[in-house]
Symmetry: C2
Subunit: 235 residues, 2 copies
DNA sequence: GACGGCAATAGTGTATACAGTTATTCTGTA
DNA sequence: TACAGAATAACTGTATACACTATTGCCGTC
């Protein structure tokens, strides 16, 4: 009854290509060359196309008739839409969590937020902060007791990961304290306030997204400042 | 036999297989036999696998290591979760619509709801009602001005279509009047009330889902009572 | 008859070949 | 030189072949 580690080539490269799309090592707007990419990844086109397919239906790639796939461009309007969508999901999830989460679960989440806030300095890199932030939100969504919320949160997190990573760079503090505030209102079973807080928490930097994306494009085109590998396994 | 003449085979059969999964012509829980299904659809396994892949990442199928895909079973808990999720999305979308929709757009939606309510009798089949219902909700989501909401609403609609179809059979009236009430509160820019109404509208029959699913299983296993083709192009 | 191992079968996952479509280069003409 | 159009190359979409895994049926042992 042992579950062998996933040996499917399609699964392996799915993660790699997704990482490449998230970090924009595949240049945004550019066309994906299947033969070239397959060669680069050391597999044939068949499993690669499987991965591209899944990525397209998740919104990372855009299929074009008889011209394969294009990497979705870094579009401010779209990122904004994703932030809005994420806010709606998380507010909804928090309402359910407020009804359903046990005190023990909330204790666990509070401990996580506390530990994240007091993490040692060497962990205070933008990447590490982003990772902790994503984990908090995913765990929070999990307290809704509804996996659809978790899946939706994870999916949107992946699509805005790059932007949030850029954003994290000059947003050192505050995040974890806001997380703590949310958990504490949940423990008081104050759904309305928790919902308001998480909405603010997500919307706070919404007006700066366009600027962040401008910076992001700079990072992309100034070469390896992106440190291509760093975002690969963030979640 | 390689004829990508007009459109991609993968796209064609994607819709067909999705319909088969939605209507449970592919028996829920059962394993999908690729060679058999490909033969049945008149294509090779390659485009079929592409379709199966997309359906898996959309939640219609469940991939299993070295055993292909299984049709997702009709699980009450999961349908419940989808209803909850849908409620959260639509409530969020309505808040945005309340801020952004023009009076003209709301007029249009109201006209649609009115026309739906007063549709001629021969249109009052469960399928037709479901179709109108889905369209209303998708148009409503569209007024949020955020395509992510639309996509999410459409996606969840597809996954609960079968259950709602069963449910529609003894829920003739009321739906359209509730739709009208929602639009009218939107026109008064009363986001709170519109949100409450749509949440109620969606949650109303939540407690009967288990029963509905039981009936659904009956329909599935009593053969063509399902009228397999009817749900195919509902949206 | 029950059970365990082994052969045979069926089925998935991957690679490769091929056909049709799009992009590019080359060539001739004005 | 500029440009149109054909020839060529590059690439995608599909079919097929093959390798490896899981399942099934069979046989012998207990």
């Amino acid at each position: 009854m042992n579950l062998p580690a996933s040996i499917r080539a399609a699964d392996r490269i799915y993660d790699r290509v997704k990482a490449m799309a998230c970090t924009y090592r595949l240049s945004p707007g550019g066309r994906v060359n299947e033969v070239e990419l397959a060669r680069q990844l050391g597999v044939s086109r068949t499993p690669l196309r499987e991965a591209l397919n899944r990525l397209a239906s998740e919104g990372f790639l855009v299929p074009t008739m008889n011209k394969g796939y294009h990497v979705r461009a870094l579009d401010p309007a779209e990122v904004l839409a994703l932030y809005e969508f994420r806010a709606a999901i998380e507010v909804g999830g928090v309402q359910l969590a407020c009804e359903r989460a046990t005190d023990a679960e909330l204790d666990g989440l509070e401990a996580f937020a506390l530990a994240s806030r007091d993490a040692p300095d060497e962990d205070a890199q933008a990447l590490r902060l982003l990772e902790l932030d994503e984990q908090f939100h995913e765990r929070l969504a999990g307290l809704s007791g509804n996996d659809e919320f978790v899946r939706a949160v994870c999916a949107t997190n992946e699509r805005i990961r790059f932007v949030r990573w850029i954003d994290m760079k000059d947003r050192r503090a505050g995040t974890q304290n806001e997380h703590l505030a949310i958990v504490r209102h949940l423990r008081q079973r104050d759904a309305a306030m928790a919902g308001t807080l998480i909405r603010q928490h997500i919307s706070r930097r919404l007006d700066q997204i366009t600027e962040v994306i401008r910076i992001g494009y700079g990072e992309i085109y100034t070469g390896n400042a992106l440190a291509a590998h760093v975002l690969d396994g963030a979640a």
